[in-house]
Symmetry: C2
Subunit: 759 residues, 2 copies
């Protein structure tokens, strides 16, 4: 189960498959478009290349498309949308990270077999390649092949009122052979060069490309060649491509950027397609060796989990200046913006399997800390207020206006009120430190962020003199159906936690690195007294919960809201809007978009007991509309914790297949990266039952669905990689060192090598 | 039978229908593309706007496409190639000259009915319009409509090795509201402005367009509007467009051109869509009143003949600087070039029905006479050598190289050797004068062309001293399978005829307009002696024909060539290449591409008797491959003359349906204009049996196919319009004056009013 296959071509599915078949390497992304169809939302992105110009907000720039490749038979362009097709298959090979296609076109009774293989190199992230094997099945004659770059691409294909081309042309270059396009983004001034060239070989390895013709049509450079074919003999065309940007070379001189891109292209051609592909596959093999999950007994789950991990990894940046957007780098959903999705949903996967990327994700926050400080300042607060939506500089980029479920303009308040992102980042920081013991990171970056977010909360708290408590009013919690609420438990609880952790790490660094401690005090304008005061404030933060009451009220007044029953579910098993419900007045009901109290219990599991979890799960689950792809995975994990195993499996499968079955209906606009992270958590934290206890020990309390014979995964913990296989009645852990862990809450010591525990 | 209808949408037929549904008005042409599909060869042409740049030869320029119009439902662009479609119909209304479409799209269960009507005004040739009626069938909500101009179009969609964009952008203009694009062709420096704007009205006539957004994406300006729809209520969007060029205003200042286009657009909007459409329809009604042919008893023939006349008329220029290309102005076949197709095939239709256009076609040759003189000079001859292929200046623009039937490069010799075009033009000139008695034209333009072509032949003739005769060696006749042949009968016969007519008209103008006669002598360097010598030369031109032999040898040595039998016919009833035939050696066989000797007998019918016609028809017809759309119509007419009525009808139907059934397989690249002219000749000269006798009297010897009850047509003759109805046993002629004519060779005098002759 390593392949996702499309066996039939119908153009109306193209945009969804383009997302499913996207190839990316953390640096660049090429949507998996059919180069032989015009039904496409061309998408070429480089992580971190954002621009605003006349757009509503700063967004990830859709760059010129370098995938253009045309074949003409009898001067007729072959095209999936009008040429007869006698064979069609396209599949994503996730093990190797390649996209493979087979077409047989028929033009005037001439049958032409075209097989292609595309990859975006993880070995050299500036490179991508496509190999075409072209075979005339029943004729000898000539064809024309054409290599193209399309510099008329734009953002907003699925958002026509916000369509915009974010770049202007600096140069279109005939590389003789090869093509180049250099563009510059309007505001940010990023310069991007995209170059490509093709080679062709006949069966004897001789050059098969003849009579090159170069031209520019509109903003598209093109080069074509004539090829003379002999019946049944295969010609191999290799397309080489490279992308460089001014961010990569710290120069915005377009000649420098183009020069680097051309050098990269030359080096790629000199290395050769096959060698580069082999190196890429070798890299993928190493990665799979670290991140793969094997599920024995459930083929769909096996395929689904690999699909999610593959695409999540494809977003993982080598560059600490970028992070992963809500839709990966696979489309323009949410404009490439980074949300809490990264820290709360995706981050654990990286932390436990590929911690070097987890570190980069946190460094991205550090590198945008100045923007976060600016947000706080502009809103009248202190410290750093990380933006609800983040692009390249940490400034808040949430659009102020959007559309409600009926298509009416509606003010979006999340950028103003969804403060919990600050604590979510703090949670990830502390989690990172607990699992990696990377003190150096905490000293240089982590503590500063904890202190700045702590300071923010201190300034954000509102003192209620009458009750002698601190409150946080007018917020949005994770459940975005309810805006301007007071004292949301998730927000308040984590604000308190964030402040306490800030104080804890303030003390830690004071002891560990006195020099850095002094520096931070100077830089951040902190005094011991000020930080000490946070302790008292934090402990006075109001958590709206009756004493002894296990059921927690999501925010002040939630229990007084109107009860609306969910009675119908769609074909994906997700709730339908109850009949007669006024969608502009969701805030007046108890319906919630996604878990909020339950979310808190997952983020800080050590703070709640089994009964609390069960009661709250049962109460909120039946009021949840799952109008976010973040929702099902969390209910799956909590379901397993409280014994709702049947629903847990159902929610897990919704999570796993959100894109493969397009069950949110918007896969065309990008990959659901948070859901993918949630899927990993379902397997490892849910079925694998792995938790990091407050004593920082890993605990495993697994439970397997009936059809699963076993599940295996690896976990990186304090520099050691544990290889874990859970079966129905036992758990096998292979460890490279002696380590203390827990099995179902009981401490146990792993010996070096294989360890088996009955469960 | 006024409509050509497409009832089913399958994208692979789009390019053929684009040609069939082209709307043109002699000035501009818009290919009948589906604006809601990307499967299109966008084609916008203005007659006479040619350019060369890096193209092989000067060609008609494909201009920016102004038909772009998009509709978005739920932010999804509706598109025939991927949106669900529950209704589809598109039809060309030939009576009114409109293209009408009905679509019902389904997006997310929302059904949207879109009805459109497009016209290219014949009243004001710079204007075109499209009206969209948009009705939400089962929902209320909003949609987005988008008006666009695409300035990334190019020539060579069907000829990828010769793809080229012939213009560069001078300006892209936001007209607030409305869009403009001004471009300039590379070499010729023609400046073209294309402007468009849309209006929208709800059921109360109130403006329905809201929130205009303008942007430029690549080289495409776009403006979109939001429309709020109520279920079942229709919104009417009217799209207004105008085109002006520097040729129209004798200024290449792009501000002037744009200004004129904008004025035209403003005036058009102020006139209103409906009023302009009414004026256009009124114009079409008047034209149909003059050119229509009614065939009673044969619906397919009725539809076919109207289709041909409609498109032929749509090419008819009001501008004496342009003529009609081999593929009309409907596509890029033959690069918009003018061939003998115009004078020999299309011209008679105009001459007998719309003589003002016939005059313009001849004036085009006069206006390109300097180029023809230059051709003669460059080839070492005197006088004027009209080009085999003609663009804007009369210089030879036949490509030197093309591809043979196997796709191999092959030298094209027609531009070097197919001299008969000169005599073909002379034939049209004399024919024009005979039918219209337009002496003024002959004095000012016609005689000069006759003298210059006569002078050319005098210089081209090669004296064979041994035989004391003049020969013309190394030529191509109408049958292009045989190149470099000597003494082609068609060429020699017409050269002789051309020279004799030159002398005749020299004498005529000497008597009629002595002043002009003197002027011409000065201008053309003629002496009476020189012109007199042409008489002797002409009479010594070798016509390779045995004395008393009725069967004429197409050229010297033809009878010695290899006999190859045609034994198979394709599904269109046209011959297939005989098996085993070497297509690179067609010249060694007796197979011919199209009539040559038979053609001569049709061009100069008074020179040959019945028996000669019959023998030559029978001999050559069975050796003709009909690899030209010019071929079947001529065999049809000659078939009728010699009594091969069955084949005549078959060839007529092939002619009539060449585009409607795409029986040459290349209708995608333009309308077969010569075949259309041939179809008119089949009806009027063939079935109607009309000939212009050497005494300049019209003779009618009709014969009707069995299923035809009658055929009616009008004929313009010396300023009078005769209304003729042929029935099985009688012919009815309504005349506005007393006129002498012939019925089956017998002189007869028409009285004013209705005349009936038994036949």
């Amino acid at each position: 189960m390593w392949t996702v296959t499309r066996n039939e071509y119908t153009s109306e599915k193209n945009l969804v498959y383009e997302t499913l078949f996207t190839l990316a390497n953390g640096y660049m992304s090429l949507r998996g478009r059919e180069e032989f169809s015009n039904v496409t939302m061309k998408g070429t992105y480089v992580a971190g290349i954002f621009d605003k110009h006349l757009a509503q907000v700063t967004e990830l720039v859709n760059l010129p498309d370098p995938l253009g490749f045309r074949i003409y038979v009898d001067n007729e362009e072959i095209n999936l949308d009008y040429t007869s097709l006698s064979k069609y298959q396209r599949f994503l090979d996730m093990r190797n990270g390649t996209l493979n296609s087979t077409y047989e076109f028929i033009v005037n009774d001439k049958r032409l077999l075209v097989e292609s293989q595309r990859f975006v190199s993880r070995k050299n992230v500036h490179r991508f390649g496509v190999r075409y094997k072209i075979t005339p099945v029943n004729f000898s004659g000539k064809i024309i092949v054409e290599n193209c770059i399309d510099a008329t691409t734009f953002n907003g294909y699925l958002d026509p009122l916000n369509k915009i081309q974010h770049y202007h042309i600096i140069g279109i270059n005939d590389l003789r052979p090869g093509l180049g396009v250099t563009v510059e983004t309007h505001d940010r001034g990023h310069v991007i060069s995209i170059v490509t060239s093709i080679t062709g070989k006949d069966k004897n390895g001789e050059n098969a490309l003849r009579y090159r013709k170069y031209r520019e049509i509109g903003q598209n450079p093109q080069e074509n060649y004539t090829i003379f074919l002999t019946k049944e003999e295969t010609v191999v065309i290799e397309k080489y491509g490279a992308i460089f940007t001014s961010k990569d070379i710290q120069s915005t001189n377009d000649n420098d950027v183009l020069f680097r891109a051309k050098c990269e292209l030359d080096n790629f051609i000199s290395t050769g397609f096959e060698k580069e592909l082999e190196a890429h596959i070798k890299h993928m093999e190493n990665i799979w060796n670290r991140m793969d999950i094997q599920i024995d007994g459930d083929e769909i789950a096996q395929l689904g989990i690999r699909f999610n991990l593959f695409h999540l990894y494809s977003c993982a940046p080598d560059d600490p200046r970028v992070s992963i957007g809500a839709r990966g780098i696979h489309g323009e959903g949410y404009k490439g913006h980074v949300f809490w999705d990264t820290e709360i949903f995706m981050f654990p996967f990286f932390l436990y399997t590929l911690p070097e990327y987890a570190k980069n994700l946190l460094l991205y926050r550090y590198n945008t800390l100045d923007g976060a400080r600016r947000n706080a300042q502009m809103n009248g607060y202190k410290g750093a207020q990380f933006p609800w939506e983040s692009a390249d500089d940490g400034l808040e980029v949430t659009p102020k206006w959007g559309e409600d479920y009926l298509g009416n303009p509606v003010r979006i308040w999340t950028g103003d009120e969804e403060y919990h992102i600050n604590s979510d980042i703090a949670v990830a920081l502390v989690h990172y430190h607990s699992v990696t013991a990377d003190d150096e990171f905490m000293v240089n970056y982590g503590v500063e962020m904890l202190l700045e977010t702590g300071k923010f909360w201190a300034s954000r708290l509102e003192y209620n003199e009458k009750e002698d408590r601190y409150e946080i009013r007018r917020v949005i919690g994770p459940d975005e159906f309810h805006e301007h609420v007071d004292n949301n438990v998730y927000t308040n609880y984590l604000a308190k936690w964030n402040m306490l952790k800030a104080v804890e790490y303030y003390d830690w660094i004071c002891e560990k690195e006195p020099l850095k401690y002094e520096k931070l005090k100077t830089l951040l304008g902190l005094t011991d007294e000020m930080v000490r005061s946070w302790l008292e404030m934090a402990n006075k933060i109001y958590i709206p919960r009756e004493k002894g009451e296990k059921l927690i009220e999501q925010f002040e007044g939630y229990f007084q809201l109107k009860e609306v029953e969910i009675t119908e579910w769609d074909e994906n098993g997700l709730p339908k809007w109850p009949k007669g419900l006024d969608l502009t007045k969701l805030n007046e009901t108890k319906l919630i978009k996604q878990p909020d109290v339950v979310m808190l219990m997952l983020v800080l599991p050590e703070e709640f007991d089994y009964e609390e979890m069960k009661i709250n799960y049962e109460y909120y689950e039946k009021r949840t509309m799952h109008k976010s792809s973040l929702s099902p995975s969390m209910y799956s994990i909590m379901g397993l914790k409280v014994g709702d195993n049947h629903n847990a499996y159902k929610y897990f499968m919704k999570t796993l297949l959100v894109d493969l079955e397009d069950n949110q209906g918007n896969t065309n606009n990008g990959f659901h990266a948070a859901s993918a992270g949630g899927a990993w958590q379902c397997v490892v934290n849910g079925f694998g039952g792995m938790t990091l206890e407050s004593d920082k020990l890993l605990n495993f309390s697994p439970w397997l669905p009936e059809n699963w014979r076993s599940v295996s995964f690896k976990v990186s913990y304090k520099g050691h990689i544990l290889d874990i296989t859970v079966e129905k009645d036992r758990i096998k852990i292979t460890s490279p060192a002696e380590l203390e862990i827990k099995i179902k809450g009981e401490k146990s010591r792993l010996k070096n090598g294989e360890n088996i525990f009955e469960i």
